[in-house]
């Protein structure tokens, strides 16, 4: 007999669809794109030092824009379980984790607003990893 809170958490983690998570990620990416493509030198701030080593803010703005559009399209065409969607989830998780790491590594103490970005990076990682963890469970139960 499992603890009812554990069962509820298990249902929330494994039995929910990830549409809301994907939509939140795509919205966050759109807003990042808007902020980066805004007039002015956003990357002059030390927070974005490591990101600026990879590319300028326009480049990053376009990267976020394309990523947001792709994520949104995946939800629109209900393509969440295809090979492309899985590869994209890996790319998306990498993008968010790199962005979070780069901001944490660029300034000290870390900015408070990074709390939201950490949650988004974990969400992106979950979208990527959950299918593989579930597949292992189904394999143990005899599904191939």
């Amino acid at each position: 007999m499992h603890n009812k809170y554990l069962s509820s958490l298990s249902r929330a983690l494994w039995d929910s669809d990830l549409i809301g998570t994907r939509l939140s990620l795509s919205m966050a990416e759109f807003f990042w794109a808007i902020m980066l493509l805004w007039a002015g030198d956003t990357f002059a701030r030390p927070t974005y030092y490591h990101m600026s080593l990879i590319g300028n803010e326009e480049v990053w703005g376009l990267v976020f824009l394309l990523s947001g559009m792709t994520q949104f399209s995946i939800v629109l065409i209900d393509d969440m379980h295809s090979k492309f969607a899985r590869y994209f989830a890996c790319w998306n998780a990498t993008l968010w984790m790199f962005v979070v790491w780069s901001m944490v590594a660029s300034v000290y103490p870390p900015p408070a607003a990074i709390g939201g970005e950490i949650a988004l990076a974990l969400a992106a990682g979950w979208v990527w990893l959950r299918p593989y963890i579930l597949a292992e469970g189904y394999k143990r139960a005899g599904y191939h």
């Binding site: 554990l6 298990s10 494994w14 292992e136 189904y138 005899g142």
Partner: protein, 119 residues
């Protein structure tokens, strides 16, 4: 389905009661109406059984395979239990990781504060 059967039974009972009142001493107690009611009821039950059989697969002799249907359900129940157990144990592991991460973050912040005050 149940309503139809009940209606038929009530109708049969009513007919029998009426016939019992009207019957002459030497006449038989089973009337043709009662037989007709029974016949209708049997036909309804037979149709239902045919429909129930369509839920099952056929075996190699083209008969209804009740056995494999039961086995399939038992296997699904077993699989579901294994997957549910796996999900619960994975949830515990994930909870452990997240709590460790959050506590680590809180501890780092607290330590930074302490070191700042010490300086």
């Amino acid at each position: 389905m149940q309503d139809t059967t009940e209606k038929l039974q009530r109708r049969a009972t009513d007919i029998i009661a009426k016939r019992a009142q009207d019957r002459a001493p030497d006449t038989p107690c089973v009337s043709s109406e009662y037989v007709s009611v029974l016949h209708d009821e049997i036909e309804t039950i037979k149709r239902k059984l045919v429909l129930i059989d369509t839920a099952f697969l056929r075996d190699d002799l083209s008969g209804v395979d009740y056995g494999s249907h039961r086995k399939d359900h038992l296997e699904r129940q077993k699989t579901k239990a294994i997957i549910t157990e796996y999900k619960i144990s994975s949830t515990k592991v994930l909870l452990g990781i997240v709590i460790t991460f959050v506590l680590g973050l809180v501890a780092s912040g607290f330590l930074a504060r302490v070191l700042e005050n010490v300086r």
